[in-house]
């Protein structure tokens, strides 16, 4: 069973009348409850790929099938962007509440869930705060709460910790993993940080640019919780970087 199947997806933009390919024949599956990391240099189309999956852009060739839990119900897809993208005129609680707009939950139930998800990301005390009153890391956690509150089957994350400092990034990675363990959700996380990709992923897809395509796939069969200092991760990092930079350059 797959949660998400990407089959032969290609995409190109018209630039000055010339078609410029950005994604070329991308295919991979995501299993339920699996974390797939996608790494690649900027311009390899990894963010574009997420936009296609979540449905922000429908102009592509190939097929994207969201498996879902059953055949009758379509899978829900949530998205966390690199910047938090909270609505500045709504409180943190109201921002998270937007996630229930498409559902027909009643008000008290919605309120309870807002509490729950804010607690999950450690922001219980900030429900009534406005986004500008939060630090960058807190705002990003609120954005994660908003995406999780949709109770998605698939969570897409576009460099969600990219703008944060490295200590905060490690903390949020661990928080993400603990949330992932509590909620059955498949995660596709796009990053340019190889260590992050390896630490989080069950599988790491390495992409290369011009046009964006899959260069290699690494299965990470290390048990969780993983040790960031594990020599096997270091070895994988070497291989991954070699693939990213190009074998010739490193040998």
């Amino acid at each position: 069973m797959t949660a998400l199947a990407i089959e032969h997806v290609s995409k190109s933009y018209a630039l000055n009348g010339v078609q410029r390919p950005v994604l070329n024949d991308i295919s991979f599956d995501v299993a339920p409850n699996e974390i797939v990391s996608i790494v690649g240099a900027s311009g390899c189309g990894k963010s574009t790929l997420l936009r296609l999956i979540v449905g922000l852009d429908e102009d592509y060739r190939g097929s994207i099938i969201q498996g879902g839990v059953s055949d009758t119900k379509a899978a829900k897809v949530g998205m966390v962007f690199q910047d938090h993208r909270l609505y500045p005129w709504l409180t943190v609680g109201a921002n998270v509440d937007l996630a229930f707009d498409a559902s027909n939950l009643r008000k008290p139930e919605r309120l309870a869930r807002v509490h729950h998800y804010l607690q999950l990301v450690g922001l219980s005390d900030y429900e009534k705060a406005y986004p500008k009153q939060l630090s960058g890391g807190m705002a990003q956690r609120a954005a994660i709460a908003r995406a999780l509150a949709q109770e998605p089957d698939i969570l897409l994350m576009d460099e969600p910790f990219g703008a944060l400092d490295s200590i905060l990034r490690m903390r949020l990675q661990d928080e993400l993993l603990s949330i992932w363990e509590k909620n059955r959700v498949s995660i596709v996380i796009v990053t340019h940080d190889v260590e992050e990709a390896l630490y989080l992923g069950n599988r790491v897809i390495v992409m290369e640019p011009d046009p964006g395509r899959i260069r290699d796939v690494f299965e990470i069969e290390l048990a969780r919780p993983r040790d960031r200092a594990d020599p096997r991760l270091a070895a994988l990092k070497q291989r991954c970087l070699a693939t990213l930079v190009g074998r010739e350059a490193l040998s």
């Binding site: 609505y87 109201a94 707009d101 949709q150």
Partner: protein, 258 residues
């Protein structure tokens, strides 16, 4: 600014000029420099709205004018808001509406009066339509611009969260357009105030600050004319201040963190 600490209760700088002008005016009328049938002293202007029978008309006139500003302004403003929203949201509406609106906007507001009186008569209808026109344009333009300026990134969020249509309007596009709408509102309220007085003055009948001044002029009552002029200034300041404090209260997210 350390010298500020040493001057706790000084006259606001802005009050110096009007007080000096009033002083000169009072001196001129007391010494007899200012004389003749049209000369009035500041004291007369101050007492007229309370003691004089015709002068007392001021309060009801002011009330009538304010009411007219609110009703006419609200009608024009709401239509402007809705059409501006449509023009900001939908390409079709923008292409269909904007050229007409931008062309009609070039017609000076008071040039409408002959046409409007021909269409709606000399009564309240013409005045309300006229005031409506004066608020329609600033709010249409401000709303269109504000809605169109909604950050694309926040629109993406609305799409990934599959927000309902009304939620998008109330929680995304309107709040995003609010700063622009507020600027439009401040222009609109001033424009409505000037437009209302103008319409009352030009059409002449009925109660209102404009007709108050017009009839005083016809009776050569300069004191009442001056009372009316001061009421104009005061009313305008009052409306602008009210709009400004109202808009500040309506957007708590824009305030500094406390």
């Amino acid at each position: 600014m350390p010298e500020r600490l040493h001057t706790p209760r000084r006259l606001p700088l802005g009050a110096v000029l009007p007080l000096a002008a009033t002083g000169a005016w009072a001196a001129a009328s007391m010494t007899g420099m200012l004389s003749g049938p049209m000369a009035v002293s500041p004291l007369e202007v101050l007492t007229t709205p309370f003691l004089d029978a015709s002068g007392r008309e001021l309060w009801l006139s002011l009330l009538a004018t304010m009411l007219r500003v609110l009703v006419g302004g609200a009608i024009g403003g709401i239509v402007g808001l809705m059409l501006g929203y449509a023009a900001g949201m939908y390409r079709v509406a923008s292409l269909g509406l904007a050229p007409t609106v931008h062309t009609i906007r070039q017609v000076a507001l008071f040039a409408w009066i002959p046409l409007l009186t021909a269409w709606f008569g000399n009564g309240e209808g013409t005045k309300l339509v006229f005031i409506g026109l004066s608020t329609f344009f600033p709010l249409f333009l401000a709303t269109e611009q504000g809605v169109r300026g909604t950050p694309e990134k926040l629109v993406d969020v609305a799409r990934t969260l599959k927000l309902k249509r009304w939620t998008r309007v109330s929680k995304l596009y309107l709040p995003a357009a609010l700063p622009s709408i507020y600027v439009g509102l401040q222009i609109a309220v001033l424009s409505a105030w000037i437009g209302t007085i103008g319409a009352e003055y030009a059409i002449g009948n009925g109660r209102g600050l404009g007709s108050y001044i017009a009839s005083a002029r016809d009776q050569f009552r300069m004191d009442i004319v001056l009372v009316g002029v001061f009421a104009l200034a005061g009313g305008g300041v009052l409306l602008t201040t009210a709009v400004r404090s109202l808009t500040a209260q309506l957007s708590p997210w824009a305030q500094d963190q406390s």
